[in-house]
Symmetry: C2
């Protein structure tokens, strides 16, 4: 009575979690979702709606009386779906993919089911301990040194995003500097990234109170394949030190957002270690590939870093909000982030024998996040996950081959993983760079407007570049081939209209 879908608002009998009603409706939702997965290929990848479309479909206020699930699902189909950009579409090649899997979905269901709040060990011992186990498992898969593992002297934690991983490690580094040279030194602390470091780096540094004038964005170029040059880094650091500033933190990237470039960790570690800086490695995208021996060299030097973050939601099938962060010295995180209110005090915390993850993150509350990753690792095993990475890389190689075989196109940056950066190159001499950029922009707009493929762009080295990121979970070779054919079709039409610009 009065529960979900009954159409009755009698609160005396309102049961928001009746197990049998849950069972029936959750089964209904499972079928809805399985059908979505089956049909997702048929939807326009990039939504074609106009801003404000949804407000016009929905009432201004929440209903006073309950509405049945069937009406809601009808609205999901008619109002929500048209406004979706389908990240699960096998023809989604934009940004980096957000990968998914049955195992992770089941793990998320379990996490939702328990809804435990693991701020302290005691509040949910299994949640804390499984996260510790899983972080060590993944560390082993990546052949990280024991200095990053609970089985050694470090440890790991699941954050929601790379931004949070950077924020908490930056604050740990900052407070370590305060301990050494006083809190009044804040104004002097300098942080370093490249112009390819994720945009959240600058934002996060500002959040942490780093003076905007002290955030260095070191230029990269075609010459270094858009990787951070340790030579330039050293020069900038030396100049800062000479000016009386204090180098604090450097963020190296394994798989940049624009081109998936990899910064040379070993050489950057030389500079970082020499100047006592915290070295963080943001391997959000590229790190996952390092579970395969043939890619592991991209993390060479990691044993000299202070922290590493990697987002399995990008390439390890784990759904969103799963960014794994390892630190060498958990104590530095805890010193910066711990709180000790009376209402959370308990015996095990007091004994110092447990991890209280609230002291490893920004917030206090936290879900049982490790279940998803645990289910992925167990259900698929390392072998399948390696195979999954390799399959995406192979498909990207196929696409790269297509690009290279068509002389109207060029590959703009070396392909290290499953991202191909390319563009149309007008061959006529009198076509200026602005015109070439405009042509690529037009091609991209046309391709995306068909709804059959979604790609995005970037600008590197002053050049407008198309990004083709393989890796959506449902993508097969035929989707890559179809996307290439569509791109070629667009180029045909574009170049014909441009009076046969290519010779």
């Amino acid at each position: 009575m009065g529960s979900l879908g009954s159409g009755c608002g009698n609160s005396r009998h309102f049961k928001p979690l009746d197990p049998e009603e849950f069972r029936a409706q959750a089964h209904q939702m499972v079928d809805f979702i399985a059908d979505y997965y089956k049909q997702v290929e048929t939807y326009p990848v990039l939504s074609q709606v106009q801003p404000g479309y949804l407000r016009a479909c929905l009432p201004e206020s929440a209903p006073y009386r309950p509405e049945p699930l069937d009406s809601i699902l009808m609205d999901v189909r008619s109002c929500i779906m048209p406004g979706m950009t389908h990240w699960l579409s096998p023809s989604f090649f934009a940004f980096f993919p957000a990968t998914v899997s049955t195992a992770a979905f089941l793990g998320e269901m379990l996490c939702t089911c328990f809804n435990s709040v693991g701020f302290t060990w005691l509040a949910s011992p299994a949640a804390t301990e499984l996260e510790m186990v899983v972080m060590d498992w993944l560390a082993r898969m990546l052949k990280l040194p024991k200095s990053f593992m609970f089985a050694g002297t470090g440890g790991g934690v699941i954050q929601n995003t790379t931004s949070e991983s950077i924020l908490v490690t930056l604050v740990a580094a900052r407070d370590r500097a305060f301990d050494a040279i006083g809190i009044e030194s804040l104004r002097k602390l300098v942080v370093y990234g490249s112009d390819q470091t994720h945009s959240t780096f600058t934002k996060t540094c500002k959040l942490a109170g780093i003076h905007p004038c002290n955030i260095r964005s070191i230029p990269t170029s075609f010459h270094t394949h858009f990787a951070l040059s340790h030579v330039l880094l050293r020069k900038v650091v030396e100049a800062d030190v000479a000016a009386g500033l204090v180098p604090l933190y450097v963020c190296a990237t394994a798989g940049t957002t624009s081109t998936a470039a990899v910064d040379p960790i070993e050489q950057i570690a030389d500079v970082a270690n020499e100047y006592g800086m915290w070295l963080h490695v943001d391997a959000a995208y590229g790190g996952s590939a390092c579970i395969c021996p043939e890619f592991r060299h991209y993390l060479n030097g990691i044993e000299r870093a202070d922290s590493l973050s990697l987002s399995p939601h990008k390439w390890l099938l784990s759904y969103l909000d799963c960014c794994c962060l390892w630190v060498k010295e958990p104590g530095s995180l805890v010193r910066a982030l711990s709180t000790d209110p009376e209402y959370l005090r308990n015996g095990p915390s007091r004994s110092g024998s447990v991890v209280d993850y609230k002291d490893w993150q920004v917030g206090t509350g936290r879900r049982f996040k490790s279940l998803r990753l645990w289910l992925v690792l167990r259900s698929y095993g390392v072998a399948n996950l390696q195979g999954h990475i390799r399959s995406d890389v192979r498909m990207a190689g196929l696409f790269e081959g297509f690009v290279k075989s068509d002389r109207r196109f060029e590959v703009v940056a070396p392909r290290l993983f499953a991202l191909v950066c390319f563009r149309v190159v007008p061959r006529r001499r009198r076509v200026g760079p602005g015109e070439a950029d405009a042509m690529n922009r037009k091609l991209l707009e046309w391709v995306n407007s068909t709804g059959r493929v979604y790609m995005t762009h970037t600008v590197v080295g002053g050049v407008y570049v198309l990004r083709f990121a393989v890796g959506a979970t449902l993508t097969e070779e035929r989707h890559v081939v179809a996307a290439w054919n569509l791109i070629r079709e667009g180029a045909d039409s574009l170049l014909k209209n441009a009076h046969s610009l290519c010779t």
Copy 2:
């Protein structure tokens, strides 16, 4: 082949999201979860395991080959369950509850299903627009002024936690101050809360670079029922101004963590407005009750605040990671938090006609978070949600009546919502306050050790207090009665052993 549970690692045929396999296994998981909900009442509420218990149960490394779902579920039963503190148990009265519902679970399934990343409007128009609609719906339910609504001049966003809500508004306030008086003023900025403000406030202020000496924790007392005194606040602010400091931000709370006290928003707004401070209202717990007219007065004065946060996961049945934040001036958030990397640029963002939620939060990526709340509001309707609040308050009133009817106990702070703060009061004169605290601590330990109930404690006004927080979704009157009987049984035995301390 090679997919979940097949026991085969042949990657050529590895399909991590086969719709029919998903369907079968997700149905299996639904039944597993429905059975858990049916049985949760029978489990010990507070886990009885010892630190490190899980590491001993699980292998050191992830498996190389896949394992079947049945084995994993068996381990959930035998390894994970014993380490759970069951937040869903109807006899969970600790902290504040983390409420759940069938509707929210279904919404979370849909959110997981789409796995869209709504950093910009274009990346997922429906995700952005539904969040805008739902935030306005909830604003109307709370009778917030239009200055907090998209339908007016403000707007709302779903954060994961109160910590993030405080962080982003604090940084917006800080950067607004930088604009007015220069970035070098950071050292002078002062923030204000009470000694009952959530512990995350201090942590968040430190994250944002506020000097620890400039974080004011104004003492409260029995006299003000542990609410922040605006008289004291004004005195402290005046002294800071006289000392050349700059008042920046004050955090008022509607429903403090220890006793659910409510700070007087109107009077605090007088001080905040006079000194140009940002006023944030943390209504994480108490705010939900304000959808009922009889509680709405606790938000009186909200029209003069700059921001308000409220966590429906605490009392509106929405599962974790759902903290609603409204701001009066979204532009101030966006100025502090926006990033504009080339790879996220797009027409709608450039046109300024859309909301890009990445500029309202710490991270870049974000899930389709509003689906959960949308399903809760529609499936239950305002009437049932009001009924749900009232039912919890009524049960807490019942418990309070039990306490008051037993002269060995006293209620320590006024009960405004569904939290009862109480303790055993030894009547014999020669029992000192330390001894009384020890007695209450013993009683709590005994009650929790039975596994039949889980409560927590706090210390306010120098006194050790037991907290009985009604509100777990499955709690019924009989669980409250049983909990009281258990507490009485504990007191009987405790007081008998203490040689009949009570007269």
